[in-house]
Amino acid sequence: MSSVDARVQDAGRGPAAETPTTAREDPARVAAGDPVSSAAGLLALQRGAGNRAVGAVLRARGRAPRRALQRLGYRLDKPLPSGAEKPKHGSDPDQRRYSIGQFTKMWEAQFHALSSSEADNVLRGCVGITALNLGLGPLVAPTDLPGNKVYGTFAKARAIAAAKNEALGSIAPGSPIQGYVVYAMLFWSNRDPDPKKRGKPDPKAFRPDPRTGEVDMSTIGDIYALARPPDYTNFDFGFWDESTQTFWHANHGTYAGMKTPEEIYQSTHARFAHKYWENGEEHVSYPDFDRVVYGVASTNVKPEKLLLPTRDEHIAAFKARVAAGDWGEAALRLNGFNTDDIKRLGRTLTRDERSAIIGAAYSAMPGWSDRVVDNLTEVDKEPPAPKPKPKPRRP
């Protein structure tokens, strides 16, 4: 017979007791009236003085000082760098399993020493890991915040968070942090308070609105008490790390009666949340769950990499503006691309469409429309692309 040969080494409430409590670093404030310290200020300056003048001002200021950044773990598609600690609880190609002590060390090395309330969060398991990354206290879950909307797909939540980050503009050096991030929650669809009635899944519950992609969570109830009966886990939260392209989560919290150590997981999206069917029932990742939703939340914790729209999403948005005949917005979106992309996209347009964008660019970007106007004008002057030769017919 085989047996359990490894016992809990670090499942006690160690980090809170061992880690000195330190205050969060106090973010420096933006100097009042400095027009190049915010996106809005830069935009106003661009509109008044033009791109070249703004560029000269920014170059004269020199490079912005690098801020301390949160960065936990390494990408899973590359080997751990030499000197990096091996995950105590093992790893697979799509998951690394760290101990609480290792997670705490990584957090402190990259960010700051955990305060006692942050250490308490880590000991709550997955919900605590997500709360920690959202800057929430140890009694709060992301679902407690009514402003946090959740969606049925990761792609939808990611796109919403990216658009919100883009709308915020760039984070000025030294300014307080605000950004949008994505988290996920796995749970059991049937939320009947009576455990005898809760065993069967509710196939219609918590499905995304086909129009908006949003999931109505108003009937979720007590997320701590309502789990799949009998004795399955109440939920699994995961925090999406754009830098390493992984979710951070855990198997459970640390509490009396739990002999299996709390492990902190770094997983690919597919490992964290994958649907499967068993005995005719839908599940997500474990027998405990049959739903996954993806939330968008504001955080004041500095991410290593801000989640922003991908190049494909930018191109799709530009094409949508062209299709709608919204030439001013199309010109503004085109201005966000590099020169090669402006020309490349310009070649996909008809001559009339290019003319419409050029015409709208002057009023959409008064004084700073040169890049769009000049590059589209150059495309207009290009000789027409040669027509492809017809394939020879087979006899």
């Binding site: 997955c126 886990t233 509490y255």
Partner: protein
């Protein structure tokens, strides 16, 4: 939730037969629809997951975190401590 059959054997060394499954909180043995957790074991070895096993150990009641503790985990249940296991031979 309370299972009368398991409740009657609490504190005793027992051998249970069931299916090895990896639940969110760790390795468990699915016995008549009831997940009995294996104390201290996070997941089954890959070659055992999904198989029918005989697992011997001391049956204990595991108290899940109270809802007011706001912790992630099972809401209650049973576990086999000091467990050992072997494939079930029918």
């Amino acid at each position: 939730m309370i299972d009368p059959a398991l409740e009657a054997q609490l504190g005793q060394r027992v051998t249970l037969t069931g299916t090895a499954q990896n639940a969110a909180a760790g390795a468990s043995l699915l016995v008549d629809g009831w997940p009995v957790y294996i104390g201290g074991l996070s997941r089954w070895p890959a070659d055992l997951a999904g198989r029918t096993l005989d697992v011997a150990g001391i049956l204990v009641s595991t108290r899940g975190p109270a809802p007011e503790e706001r912790v992630h985990g099972p809401t209650g249940g049973y576990a086999l401590d000091d467990a050992s296991w072997a494939p079930h031979e029918s």
